[in-house]
Each structure stands twice: as structure tokens, then as C-alpha cells.
Subunit: 213 residues, 4 copies
């Protein structure tokens, strides 16, 4: 294959190779799934040959696993963002969900990892564990903590504590799944939905003098 950039030194190229390959692998696996992706397709994306891919990753399986690991890790760290939230529990929940939306439903990479988790979970259970540990668990844990705090402080209804975290998180999945299914064919305003969801759920969550619907 032809040299793309003359300036890049061999050492630099070599240092970047694994990440480049992982990146290309992400694109291919996300687009076609594990089984339907050929190692050569991954290589072609970079203008290299399949042999070169095998220089860095011993098998297609490992390539997939490393790709998933890297893609999960390269995304913005939720925990950090979660730590910087301020305000009332309601405020913090809103902030948390918006962060979570941005990193999970609105971020193409994370969205595709969700697809891969669903599609390849049988063959790669660790991928699902990764996804859970990186995206789902932190959000739910933080939501649970905030909801409990809100209940304790009397800010939230007592009875809602049990399922509120799942309820709160659901619009994020909704938007993510929608986009995975319909790509650009049926566009939705994800942020507006998530905000409306927060708004509506919060109205219900917050203690009120009046009675229910």
C-alpha cells in the first residue's frame, strides 16, 4: 500500500497502529457485527493488509474484545462528571441524566457499543459486563444514591424510591435504541425527550400537597 503521509516516522506509525486498528475495527464491527466483519475489511480501512492486523492482534476474537474494551474506556468518564454535580437532588438528578444522555444516547460510539452488547452478548459476555460497568452501573448507582437522599430529606415521595432510578434512566435507553434502529430515517430530538421525561417524572417524584391523578 502507498505511504499516506511521508512525514510520519515509522516509530510514530507503529505506536499508533494498535489504536488505529482498534478504531477501524470498531467501525466495521459496529456496522456489520462480529461474524460478518472480515479482518481484511478492518485492514482496508487503514490502507494496510490483513497480515498487519495480525501483527498486533492474534485473533479476530481478541481484536473484538480489545476494541470493545478500548471503545468503552476511551469515552468520557461518567464518574468524574457525576462527582461535580451541585444543587438539590432534583437538580443533580437532572444534571446526571443529561450527562448520561450525552455520553450514552447521544454519543455515537457508546450507542454502537450498546448495539454490539445486544448483538454479540452471547459470544462475548465480557462485552456486556464492560458496557454495564462503564455506562449503566455508574448512572444507576448515582441515581439510586440521589433518590435515596431525596427521599430521606423529604424532597421526594417515599413510595417511589424503589424503582425511580430505573424509571429515570429509561428515556436514555429509549433514545439510544431509537437511534440505533432508525439511524437518520426517523430522527428524534433526543435531548428534548430526555428533558421532558425528567420534567414529567420529577413532577411525580416530588412531594406534593394535593392528591394523585
Amino acid at each position: 500500500m502507498k505511504r499516506v503521509e511521508k512525514k510520519t516516522s515509522r516509530a510514530e506509525r507503529k505506536a499508533r497502529r494498535p489504536d488505529e486498528i482498534l478504531e477501524a475495527a470498531f467501525e466495521e464491527f459496529a456496522a456489520k457485527g462480529y461474524a460478518a466483519t472480515r479482518v481484511e475489511d478492518v485492514a482496508s480501512r487503514l490502507g494496510i493488509t490483513k497480515g498487519t492486523v495480525y501483527l498486533y492482534f492474534p485473533t479476530k476474537e481478541v481484536l473484538f474484545q480489545e476494541m470493545f474494551r478500548q471503545a468503552s474506556t476511551s469515552s468520557a468518564d461518567l464518574s468524574t462528571a457525576i462527582g461535580s454535580l451541585r444543587g438539590s437532588c432534583a437538580d443533580r438528578i437532572r444534571g446526571l441524566l443529561l450527562i448520561s444522555y450525552e455520553s450514552t444516547a447521544n454519543d455515537r460510539k457508546t450507542r454502537e457499543l450498546l448495539r454490539l452488547s445486544l448483538a454479540e452478548g452471547t459470544r462475548f459476555p465480557e462485552a456486556v459486563d464492560f458496557y454495564h460497568g462503564k455506562f449503566i452501573a455508574p448512572t444507576l448507582a448515582a441515581l439510586t444514591a440521589l433518590v435515596e437522599q431525596g427521599v430521606k430529606s423529604g424532597e421526594f415521595r417515599q413510595d417511589a424510591a424503589a424503582h425511580a432510578p430505573d424509571v429515570l434512566a429509561s428515556s436514555i435507553f429509549h433514545v439510544a435504541v431509537w437511534r440505533l434502529m432508525f439511524a437518520g430515517r426517523k430522527p428524534i430530538d433526543g435531548k428534548a425527550i430526555v428533558e421532558a421525561h425528567i420534567d414529567l417524572v420529577m413532577s411525580g417524584l416530588v412531594q406534593r400537597s394535593g392528591r394523585r391523578y
Copy 2:
């Protein structure tokens, strides 16, 4: 292969064959995805051979498409159930969502169709269209109608009309996706979550004298 049931006549068997095969195909495709499923795996499930499958379906692709079509169609018809709802808009929405939950998130078959839509959508866009037409569109359309009616009648907040249908449907996606990802490994009480979700969103949706949180 040995005859499984002696009583079934040849003609009966023959008449059922296509459906049996589609059923077996569903199981295999759901478990392994399109590319990783072998036509022989499908046949083995029925104790027949590859060749017989090709007697009824010309290619693996067609087998997948027919399987998807049949699996979508065999499920309970949402529209009928929707038509039988009675009561206030809130009541009918609650009823609708519970029906939708049962047929979408709580029904293994429909859940796996969601997985396949996400996993194979690139290769089989019609599958996605099917899924949308059969499960998503009817629910959203009915929700939209009910919300609009509720807004008109003053039962619901005006401003929430725009995104309420998506918000209301979210927990169903949430539960469906959760179960697809974690199977039995992280069980959730789907119905309770959906009900809590309805409860909380309704509290927010319903017109109230008091102010917001």
C-alpha cells in the same frame, strides 16, 4: 431421522413444516445472529436435514426475512387490544402501556425481534420496518392520540403533549433492553418498573393546582 410423533400424518407434518422451520430459525437467529447461524443448526433443531430447509426456503436470507415476518405477525395484535381500552385518558394510557409491556418487553419473542432489529438492521432494513410497524408505531400512535385527547379535554398539561408519548413508552424499552442484555443474570421486576414509571409520569402529566418541583 426418526419420526417424532407417530400420530401426525404425513400431510399434517408437511403442512406445518414451513412454520416449524421458521420457528427453529427464530431460535437460532435470535441466539447467534444471522451470520453465525448455520442453516444446518436450524435443521438440527427439528431433526431434519439442511436439504429439507432448502425445500421450503430458497436461501438463508429469505429464511431470515420470512422468519422475521412470521415472528412479528404471530404475536398478539396490539391494535385489537388497543381498541378495547376504556376509561379516562390516564386509565387508557395505563392500560395501553401494560398491554404494550406484555407484548413487547415481557414477551420473549418480541424481545428477541428487537435484538435482531438492532443487530441485523444494516443487512435487513425491512426487519426494522417490520418491527416498527408492528410494535412501535401502533403504541406510539395510540399514545399520541390519547395524550392529545387528554390535553384537549384538559386532563393533561398542555406543554407536555409534544414528547409525552416517547416519555411514556420509555420504560418499555428500558425493560426490554435490560433483559436482552442481562438475560437472567440481573433480573428486574419489569412490570413494577413500568407501573412505577406510569405512576410517576402521570403525576407529572396530570393538571395540578400546585406548582412544579
Copy 3:
């Protein structure tokens, strides 16, 4: 591939396939060694394709092992022949060695198995065990028994008992190795050598009248 014989029924063909393939595998492996033989070469010999070979043998390794096993087993059974020997110990030893010569050094198949044992013994230790069990052990065991008997009866020298079996068997290895190395390029009269060897070992090279050399 074209049908070679119209008369052969499918079932007959199928029944013979494994042995045919093993036979072809023997020829290829013997000629080129394990690593240098392609499964396709084996198939081509029969006018079939590699896929067919994999219908009967799961891997090239198994093909080799089965081939070796079959080739060892298909050869004439030494033990039977050994049992039918009659006469003095010397007569029986002569008879035994001639049988052994015929089946080991003079039989192309067995000879090639010796080559494969030597060439592929590292990768296939069971092959060596097979060869030993089928060709070497029976001959040496019978020789040992006959020599012991001859020593007991006073027919043979006492002091020679220890190594006589190995000494007696030597010329067979000699002829076998020679033919493996030089094929037709340096022909030898194997039988004459083995007979001369028997003769000399029995009676001695040195002139009879006087004392030893």
C-alpha cells in the same frame, strides 16, 4: 468432478470413501511429509475436492493419524505368520526374518510408514508407537524367544543371546533405510542381503577350520 464409474452406487461410493481418502493421504504424506502436504492434494488424487475430505476427517492431523493407523493395520499380520513357523530354531529364525523382510523392508507401504515415523515422530508420537507395536515389537519378541530357545537347547552360543535379536534384525532396517533413501537410484538386492546376513550371522564370516578371527 466427473463421475468416474457410472455403475458405482452412491452408497457404495460413500462406504469406500474413508478408505480411499486414507489411501490417498498415505501417498501424499509419504511423498511430501505432513507439513508439506495440502489437504487439497489428497483430494485431487481422488478427483474430489477438499471439502469432501473434511466430510470424513475433521482435521488434517486426524487424517494423518487415521491414515497411519489404517496403513499399519492393513498390512499383513506378522503374528499369524510367526505362529506358523516350523523346524529348528535356526530354521525358524530364518523363516521369521524372511517374513519380516517381506512385510517390512520389501513392502512399500510399511517402508513409507518407517519414513513417516522418523520424519513426523516429534509431532505424532503415537505413530511411532504404532509402528513399533505393529512391526518392531512382534519381530523382536519372536526373535528373542527363538534365540533363548536355541541357547537353551544348545543349538546357539551362550554368550550371544543378549544382543542376537537386534543383530539378526539389523539387515532388515538396513535394506528398508537404503530403499527409503535411494529409492530406485541405487538398487540393492534386499532379499539376498537379508539371506546373506542370516547365513553369516548363523555361521560366521571367518573360515571354519581354525580358531576364531
Copy 4:
């Protein structure tokens, strides 16, 4: 790769490289055969890389051929040793066979060259010629000369002259092949066998007093 010996000068190292490589190649080819040996395996033995091997040998084939040539040549020169034999023909034959045993059956390197000759003879006929020219031909030629001389002088039987050289040499092949096949798994006392063989061939297995068997 790290420098193995600090004291060795660059020039010295360079001068030795070809031989080092051939030595490493010998070990690898002997252990795995030509086709199963990777050039990189050879390099690794020396702590160098593939590329370096190609600096000295243009192809794997040439590497094998040069290795075989060098390994054959590096062994003790039979002809010299043969020339220094003294005594009766029987004595000289005994001496010759013991020398031949030491250099052929008892010397690991020569033994492995025999294996390679048998295993790779098809692909490398020159290897076989080398082996013959270096180890077999000199021994047989000397044996032939000695036997002829012994027959002429009346020391040996007339009738045995024709095949005696082959007969005399056979125990050496026997021991060599045995060791190649069974390595340490079935140890034999090679020298004792060769000596017993010489003894028996010279004097005969059969008791001396009477006539032949």
C-alpha cells in the same frame, strides 16, 4: 536483542554468524523438519531476528542446503580414520565399523542428518547425495576393499564376499534408526549391539564343532 557476550568483538561475531545460523538451523530443521520450521525459529535461537538470517542466506531452501552441507562436513572425516587402520582384515573391519558407529549412529548430528535425508529426500535430493557421499559410501567402499582382501588372502569365506559389506554395515543403521525413532524412550546399548554384530558375523551364531546349520 541484547548482546549475549560483551567481549566478542563485532568483527568476530560477524565472522561467526553464518556458522551460528547454520547450527541453529540444524537444530530446528532436525526437530521439526523443513516445512514446519520457521525462519524466525532459527533466528530466535540466536537472539537475532529473521531479517538477519536473510542477510546471510537468500532463502529458506538455501539455508537448509547449506546447513546440511555444513553439518555433513563438520563431522569427523571418515576417510582419514579409515586410513589409519592396522592389523588383519578382521581387525581392520572391526576398527572400521566401530569408527563408523561412533560417527554415524552414536553421533547425534549425523543421526539427525539421516533423519533429514529420509524425511526431506524428496525435496532435497542433494541432501541424500551428501549423506551418502560423506557417511555411507566411504564405509561401504572400505568394507568392500577389506572383505575382498580377506577373501583373496583366504581369511574369509569366498561365497560371502558379495553381500558382506552390507551385512557388516547393517547394525549401524539399526542402532541409528532405533535411536531416531525412540530417542530416550527405549534406550539400547548401541556399541554392544554393534560389537555383538561384528562378533557374530565374523564367527557365527551356530555352535562350532559340527557342520553348518
